[in-house]
């Protein structure tokens, strides 16, 4: 599942060459982007709410061990079971173990990125538990043996015709490309899964430390099904997803849906406090919360600790000029876009994922839209510095940068070099454009032309004006 980073350029190139994907990416990111803009326009004190959400999340990251102990004690008091996992494999083993002990064989899942991160489904299948994804997009991803390509819209890379063919092939139903009919088929199929499942698995959008509450936001209602119908509910969450109390939760909820889908709130905001209480007609008998580290404590100890404040809204994807061109799969792992370019090297290691921090123009659009104001460009630069310091970049690039630095710090040499380069480039240009460059510089002209330099440099014109 996890693709090696060395293939990044190949994956990106394939995505750029896929006309249908380009069309979908352009449309989807533009729609999400404009919905977000209007949702925030109607929030009069939006900047103050963003400040509050940022403070809530990053104060939790800063004080994480204290928050976790508080959260755990509240969960236990509420009647939940709490499990801790160092690694993805440990988390999967814990969930499989819960299923085995409780005799569960059919699990329904609501959308959980952490379960993608740990590849929980494969582990459950190996343990004899059949996991069914129930978010419509994730269900189709599972049927198609595909991977999600956007944090909140998993199948933007598929057309409704694709979805129709997947359902025809996997569910043996007549082909249709009518979205209402496709959704109705999923509703019918998944309803029977909900009714007979004995385990529900969800992620968590937030955990509230003061009250021991798991918060899920969903639009379809599958999150409510998963947390209501099966007799065992397992929450798999990263250790970083906490806020202190309900007032902080309120601030975070105000910005999450607005940033993701442009809604004030998602249709369902589900707050889980524990297993069913005495006298409740429904709800699970057992609630298990699995707290996963899997590299988060390492991220927190470094220069990208701020990324742990991310609330996974997906807004940074929609505005990123790189994501908008290459889509989610090119990032090669669970978390795409600007956030993924920081999270993936943090969770999986910098060496195999060293190209991701470079998959950015550093334009800062991600920072501008981030509901919790994460300084994503700063973190990308920190990772690029680490890549250079660890000598992980290509030899040719390292030498080229050294040569440039050496030249640029010698004014006379720099002026002479720019004169030579100018004459050389102008000689190669036709109609003001250079269409091909040799060697390392060919990377630029492979996908676009280079404008020929002006007849005089800025410095020359400056000297003339002063004269």
């Amino acid at each position: 599942m996890t693709a090696p980073s060395a293939d990044f350029a190949a994956r990106a190139g394939a995505a750029i060459g896929d006309a249908r994907l380009q069309d979908a990416l352009g449309r989807v990111t533009a729609v999400f982007g404009s919905r977000r803009t209007s949702a925030f326009a109607s929030l009069p004190n939006a900047e103050a709410v963003r400040d509050a959400a940022r403070a809530a999340r990053l104060t939790a990251v800063a004080n994480l061990p204290d928050y976790l102990e508080r959260f755990e004690s509240r969960l236990l008091a509420n009647g939940a079971h709490v499990h801790w996992a160092d690694t993805a494999a440990d988390a999967n083993a814990i969930v499989a173990g819960i299923a085995t002990r409780a005799g569960c064989t059919r699990a329904v899942k609501s959308k959980s990125m952490v379960s993608e991160e740990t590849h929980l489904n494969e582990a459950l299948e190996a343990a004899g538990v059949a996991p069914i994804e129930t978010d419509l997009g994730e269900y189709i991803v599972q049927l198609a043996h595909d991977r999600p390509s956007h944090i909140i819209a998993p199948i933007i890379h598929l057309t409704r015709q694709d979805v129709g063919r997947v359902m025809q092939r996997e569910l043996k139903v007549p082909y249709t490309d009518d979205t209402q009919a496709l959704a109705a088929t999923a509703r019918t199929r998944l309803r029977s899964e909900f009714l007979r499942a004995d385990m529900g698995i969800s992620g968590a959008n937030f955990g509230v430390a003061d009250t021991g509450t798991i918060v899920l936001v969903t639009n379809e209602g599958n999150g409510r099904m998963v947390t209501t119908l099966p007799r065992v509910h397992v929450v798999l969450m990263g250790i970083e997803k906490l806020v202190a109390n309900l007032e902080e939760l309120d601030a975070c909820l105000k910005v999450l849906a607005r940033s993701g889908t442009g809604q004030q709130l998602t249709v369902y905001t589900t707050m889980v406090n524990g297993p069913r209480r005495e006298g409740d007609a429904d709800g699970p008998d057992e609630l298990h919360v699995v707290l996963l580290d899997n590299g988060r404590s390492r991220i927190r100890a470094g220069d990208t600790a701020e990324i742990l404040g991310c609330i996974r809204c997906g807004a940074c994807l929609n505005v990123c000029p790189v994501y908008r061109n290459i889509g989610g799969h090119a990032y090669g792992d669970t978390y795409p876009g600007p956030v993924g370019a920081i999270v993936t090297p943090g969770l999986r290691g910098l060496e195999p994922w060293r190209e991701l921090p470079h998959a950015s123009t550093l334009c800062g659009a991600c920072r501008d839209v981030c509901p919790v104001r994460l300084d994503i460009p700063r973190m990308l630069l920190a990772l690029r510095r680490d890549v250079a310091a660890a000598d992980l970049q290509p030899r040719s690039l390292a030498w080229a940068m050294k040569l440039f630095a050496w030249t640029a710090s010698r004014p006379a040499l720099y002026r002479a070099a720019t004169r030579v380069a100018r004459v050389w480039l102008r000689a190669r240009a036709r109609d003001g454009w250079v269409r091909a460059l040799p060697g390392l510089a060919g990377g630029w002209t492979r996908a676009r032309d280079l404008r020929a330099p002006a007849a005089k440099t800025f410095q020359e014109r400056w000297q003339e004006r002063r004269a």
């Binding site: 979908a24 400040d51 928050y67 801790w84």
Partner: protein, 225 residues
């Protein structure tokens, strides 16, 4: 050493990270500071809700939000009118409801023979209409707050394709934040609290809106006297 101890030890071994732009300092309890700048958002209206709206203003805002969400709503001035409206919406279709004593305006007596939380799951799943009360109606967002408890099965607002919720005017609450403050004890005592904001929806396929994908595709609110 347990995984718990290892995770906490790793977190405590690292220096506490510090971040720019945290205007509210640190610590577990920040309620007072946040309350000082309560961020109240709007969508149907561009003005933030003041914290002391009249009942009429709250109801107007709640209805405007419901309209924006695609939720059918009726305001009735007598218990008889509420029951008549319920009867008209339900017709002779199978109902899954909260317990009789949990439904206001005598709606429970009207639906005395309907399925409830004690019914078998397949009977519940066959219901066409779920009839519930609510624990609060959030005016700012058009949300129904449902706190679980005796006689209030979650399935009634989840399984049937139509959810009919009966709201009392005195249940109108300005914001989710106000609800959290006023009902903290009730929230802590319950297993679950769900805010329902409109009909079940998805736009996963080509961003085309489809309602009722898992939860109710039709939500109807009756506001009683």
């Amino acid at each position: 050493m347990s995984a718990r101890e290892r995770v906490l030890a790793r977190l405590r071994a690292a220096p506490r990270p510090s971040f720019d732009g945290l205007r509210m300092g640190g610590g577990l309890r920040m309620s007072d500071k946040l309350a000082a700048s309560d961020g109240l958002g709007t969508s149907a209206s561009d003005t933030p809700l003041a914290l002391s709206l009249s009942k009429g203003e709250l109801l107007a805002r709640f209805r405007a939000e419901l309209t924006a969400l695609g939720v059918e709503h009726h305001v009735e001035s007598t218990p008889d009118a509420v029951r008549a409206r319920v009867a008209a919406i339900v017709g002779d279709r199978p109902v899954l409801r909260w317990d009789v004593d949990r439904l206001p305006y005598g709606v429970g007596e009207l639906l005395a023979h309907a399925a409830d939380g004690a019914s078998a799951r397949d009977v519940q799943a066959a219901a066409a209409v779920g009839v519930t009360g609510c624990d609060a109606a959030i005016a700012e967002t058009g949300s129904l707050a449902m706190i679980t408890g005796r006689g209030k099965p979650r399935a009634a607002s989840l399984l049937p394709p139509t959810h009919l919720a009966i709201v009392g005017t005195d249940q109108l609450c300005e914001t989710m934040g106000a609800f959290f403050r006023e009902r903290a004890a009730d929230l802590a005592a319950a297993a679950n609290c769900t805010f329902i904001t409109g009909p079940s929806r998805t736009a996963d396929i080509e961003l085309t809106l489809t309602v009722g994908v898992h939860g109710p595709g039709r939500v109807v609110v009756i506001v009683g006297p």
